[in-house]
């Protein structure tokens, strides 16, 4: 990009990308305030790194990448890990009454942060295993194992109709 954006241009970009980024952030974090913080942080970093945005059209993808990277760095913080769900499988019976099943966001909230991010990136953002691995700074194998664990938990919480038993972590 030949020059930094004017305030007007960047404001326009913020308005255009805000809602989409917020939705992804909310699904990944499960908290509205943290989601807004993440989006603000990602967009501020995008502004500060504007020279790396190679074309105007690339700015939305750039900002989304920054958002995921920032979330990943938050997940690595000890304080963040201590405040989040553990790896323990939720105690929900397999024969749970479907009418009492939690909303998907509540089910996602039962997952550890990184597993939650993996699920959102793979099935909401529709990224490949390799793309998720790169975005979160983990190996392909970790993405697969985290996906498998996450889907097992979601299956318990949401039922086979939403997460069929046949699903593995091999979809690429």
């Amino acid at each position: 990009m030949p020059r930094p954006p004017s305030d007007g241009e960047f404001t326009e970009f913020v308005h255009a990308s805000w809602a989409s980024l917020y939705r992804t952030a909310y699904l990944m974090l499960g908290d509205r305030a943290e989601a807004e913080d993440l989006v603000q942080t990602a967009l501020a970093k995008t502004y500060a790194s504007w020279s790396k945005v190679r074309a105007v059209e690339a700015a939305p993808a750039f900002a989304r990448t920054v958002l995921v990277n920032t979330a990943a760095s938050w997940f690595r913080r000890k304080s963040w890990r201590n405040e989040r769900p553990t790896e323990t499988l939720p105690e929900v019976a397999a024969h749970h009454d479907p009418s009492d099943r939690p909303a998907v966001v509540d089910a996602l909230a039962q997952l550890p942060s990184r597993q939650r991010a993996v699920v959102v990136l793979r099935y909401y953002e529709d990224l490949s295993v390799a793309q998720v691995a790169t975005a979160l700074g983990i190996s392909d194998g970790t993405v697969k194992s985290q996906t498998s664990d996450a889907l097992a938990k979601l299956r318990v919480l949401l039922g086979d109709a939403v997460v069929p038993h046949t699903l593995g972590a091999t979809h690429d």
């Binding site: 960047f10 308005h15 805000w18 939705r23 970093k45 699920v119 700074g137 939403v162």
Partner: protein, 379 residues
């Protein structure tokens, strides 16, 4: 397969009540981050690779960049100027990465405004007894234009969030507060202050209020309405920034709310001590006899403080509250920029055409005279 899960997530996302885009705070944080990143780029190892959209990125940041800001106005343009200093008539912006030369002999001092950096200049670097004081506006993009204000033996003030220069003068025996818009180069208000009488008329500007000290009489002038009050909160030489006022008391120095007088920060101090506010009023540095190995910098609202090495007078302020100083180094000059809330500092070595040289001033050669942004240089 996973279509149902994806559908549920999409439905959840689409049903969200999305908050209003906070473009102002994003711009403010972005500018701050960009400047900080430039400052620390030689020191920080930042590498986070991502591949969404096939773009490779190198990114970084700190927890200081976090915290949701309410939607609002972006920071003043002077936030983009970073560490500002001058050597002689050459003004360095952004920690020395850019420079402009003013059409005068020497810089006297700097003022941060929302329109850019206001330079006070003249035939010498003196603040007192130095003859005519002229002004130039240096914008964030490096363009410069003269400002038609010319004064002598006058104290001036700005608010970094506004494009105004305020000062007081005496015309036909009446003291007047003058407000000049430096972005349009127009005088926008002249408010007579009946009852004020003094040869020395220091002022401070914060929001719509001009605080005037007039030989023991203290006035607060709302220059937009002409209303004049004497609440007695700010006395003497007014030091007010961002709605905060630094005041001295018996055995302590403090920062109060300039409108209500509520004490926000109080620091016990035996002997000589005073607090100097950052241009935005968020921080204050303590200058005290008892501090020998460094000095304390306070977060006015949080009440916390950090210690920085050296002397307070060696440090200037950026428009948004970072501290910086220039020191000689083996290879030339080292610029240290420090965060006022964490005390962490980063150093760069700017390439200056002429290094600072105080000794030259004795021979009336002011080409080596160093001035730092955020210092008032008033006696």
């Amino acid at each position: 397969m996973t279509e149902r899960l994806a559908d549920l997530m999409r439905a959840e996302a689409e049903g969200l009540d999305v908050p209003r885009p906070a473009s102002g705070p994003v711009l403010t944080r972005g500018r701050r981050l960009r400047r900080r990143r430039r400052t620390t780029s030689a020191l920080a190892g930042l590498a986070v690779l991502a591949a969404i959209g096939g773009t490779a990125l190198a990114l970084g940041g700190s927890d200081r960049d976090r915290a949701v800001d309410p939607a609002g106005s972006p920071a003043p343009a002077s936030d983009d100027l970073g560490a500002v200093f001058s050597v002689g008539a050459t003004v360095y912006l952004d920690g020395g990465r850019r420079s402009v030369t003013i059409a005068d002999t020497s810089v006297k001092s700097f003022y941060y405004t929302s329109a850019g950096l206001l330079v006070r200049q003249g035939d010498n670097p003196w603040s007192d007894g130095g003859g005519a004081q002229r002004f130039s506006l240096v914008r964030a993009d490096g363009t410069t234009s003269p400002v038609s204000v010319e004064t002598e033996e006058t104290v001036h003030a700005t608010d970094p969030a506004q494009p105004y220069l305020a000062y007081a003068r005496t015309r036909s025996g009446t003291v007047e507060v003058v407000v000049h818009d430096v972005s349009t180069d127009e005088e926008v208000a002249v408010v007579p202050v009946p009852g004020a009488s003094a040869s020395f008329l220091p002022v401070a500007l914060s929001g719509d209020l001009v605080f005037l000290g007039a030989d023991g009489q203290d006035f607060v002038v709302d220059w937009t309405t002409g209303e004049i009050t004497r609440p007695g909160i700010v006395r003497g030489y007014p030091e007010v920034a961002g709605g905060h006022a630094a005041v001295q008391g018996d055995g302590e120095v403090s920062v109060v709310d300039a409108s209500t007088g509520e004490t926000l920060l109080a620091v016990e101090a035996a002997g000589y001590a005073y607090l100097s506010l950052s241009p935005d009023g968020r921080f204050a540095k303590l200058d005290a006899d008892e501090q020998v190995s460094g000095f304390d910098v306070y977060d006015v609202v949080a009440g916390t403080h950090v210690q920085l090495p050296g002397a307070t007078y060696d440090y200037g302020w950026t428009a948004d509250g970072d501290l910086f100083r220039l020191q000689e180094s083996a290879s030339g000059v080292r610029l240290s920029t420090c965060e006022a809330d964490t005390g962490s500092c980063a150093a760069t070595e700017p390439d200056l055409a002429t290094p600072p040289n105080d000794a030259a001033a004795s021979s009336e050669d002011y080409s080596g005279e160093l001035k730092l942004g955020g210092l008032i240089y008033e006696s």
